[in-house]
């Protein structure tokens, strides 16, 4: 399996500003003071190997949209946040005019998770099949509502693709085009669902918009079972722990620290921090990643957990 991140930001899309770019350039130049580069390649190597990630990259960007590639002709994607727009461009380019079949798995229908669909190119292509899976009764209603006048010029009924809504039940395994998927209820306003995907002995968990009440052992054990020995866990790490359990308690999100703890309990292999807070700049997100890695080191027993932070464009081979 391969996981491809098209949108990793929570709540609302975020773009780098001119000020952000100038700041990154100025800091990079400072880091390079006294150095001489005789070619683009030398400068590129320096930027790649010596500069902080937050200077040479941006976490982005688009709201949640994560593709899972299995080698099947069909596409699999979690959520249709604004990252669905570039994902749609990718699908159209890859299909080269052949109609696609896209299997969507919706964590929930809050706006940041559906806002990309009106801009999802394949929805406008006749004979494309789009199957939108989810556990919410309001799934179809939400998709139709966001494209209803006066909010959007193209009504849902005008879309050319063949769009089907498929209701799933929590904690029940389904096989969709060869990919096994198990939904799991999560704590979030209006409920959200995580998905565990399994294919050819590998497993990926997509668990976003999920708050964890730390004193509830049964809840923690339930998630540890859901994450059990997963190769990759994509985890809602919107806040630092102090924020998540103080001013932002009951906002329906979690933290980098709780992600480490649950993955350690589950003996998962790779934690990927996801659903980044829009107020956090790249340097802050890099700090949160470093803090999560240090916490993992401090609390490690006999099981090492890899910790990464997702960014738009990241690909993980599972």
């Amino acid at each position: 399996m391969r996981v491809r991140f098209w949108g990793t930001r929570g709540s609302i899309p975020v773009a780098l500003t001119s000020v952000d770019i100038r700041d990154k350039l100025a800091l990079a130049l400072l880091e390079a003071s006294g150095r001489r580069f005789d070619s683009y390649e030398e400068a590129h190597d320096f930027a790649t190997s010596e500069l902080d990630f937050s200077l040479t990259h941006t976490f982005g960007g688009h709201t949640p949209c994560v593709e899972i590639e299995t080698g099947s002709e069909e596409y699999f994607v979690c959520d249709l946040g604004s990252g669905a727009r570039p994902f749609g461009v990718h699908v159209l380019a890859k299909q080269a005019r052949r109609p696609a079949t896209v299997n969507v798995f919706m964590s929930h229908v809050h706006w940041d998770h559906i806002m990309g669909f009106p801009f999802f190119g394949p929805a406008y292509v006749p004979n494309t099949k789009i199957r939108i899976h989810g556990c919410h009764d309001v799934l179809e209603q939400a998709f139709r509502l966001q494209q209803a006048a006066p909010c959007f010029p193209v009504d849902f009924s005008q879309l050319a693709a063949n769009i089907e809504f498929v209701k799933l039940e929590p904690d029940k395994p389904y096989v969709v085009a060869g990919l096994t998927v198990i939904p799991h209820l999560q704590l979030h306003s209006g409920d959200s669902y995580g998905f565990r995907f399994e294919h050819e002995g590998k497993s990926v968990v997509y668990s976003t918009d999920s708050e964890h009440k730390l004193e509830n052992r049964a809840e923690a054990e339930g998630f540890a079972a859901f994450f059990k020995e997963a190769d990759v866990v994509i985890f809602d790490a919107m806040y630092a722990l102090a924020e998540a359990i103080s001013v932002k308690a009951d906002w329906g999100h979690s933290s980098n620290i709780v992600g480490v703890e649950l993955c350690q309990m589950a003996r998962a292999k790779h934690l990927v921090l996801f659903h980044h807070e829009p107020a956090n700049d790249d340097a802050t997100l890099e700090s949160l990643l470093k803090e999560a890695r240090r916490f993992e080191e401090l609390t490690r027993s006999d099981h090492a957990l890899k910790v990464s932070a997702s960014y738009d464009g990241l690909e993980i081979e599972v």
């Binding site: 730390l214 102090a242 359990i245 703890e261 803090e291």
Partner: protein
């Protein structure tokens, strides 16, 4: 996990030892809340002496947060002191150092919270 209380005038120093995690946080919370109510009635503060605390998980940190919130609603106050290096680092990693006042030792914590408590501490 053990909690040992010592009273200095209107302040209580709670010495916490062992590991504070999901297995022990319920007992800790019950013990802590008893003192929160008492010290709030006395207009005093609680100093958590964490010299003997080997480890604190997110569940343990949440106990600190809930107790602090409860204390504030009753015009009380909770501060922490004498953190071991690992616990101090966990406070920083989790950003708890931004929401709790952290003191290097119990004496400094008492000095910052109550002159009467400091005087009582110095006498003993």
């Amino acid at each position: 996990m053990t909690v040992t209380p010592r009273r200095y005038a209107n302040a209580v120093v709670l010495s916490v030892a062992g590991r504070l995690d999901q297995d022990t946080c319920d007992d800790f919370r019950v013990e802590l809340m008893k003192h929160v109510e008492q010290t709030a009635r006395d207009g005093g503060a609680i100093v958590l002496d964490l010299e003997g605390l080997e480890y604190v998980s997110s569940a343990g940190l949440r106990c600190f947060m809930l107790a602090s919130r409860q204390a504030k609603t009753q015009h009380g106050r909770i501060v922490v002191a004498s953190l071991q290096s690992m616990v101090a680092e966990i406070f920083e990693i989790s950003h708890f150092n931004l929401v709790f006042q952290v003191f290097p030792a119990v004496r400094e914590a008492l000095a910052a919270t109550s002159a009467d408590a400091l005087a009582a501490f110095e006498k003993k």
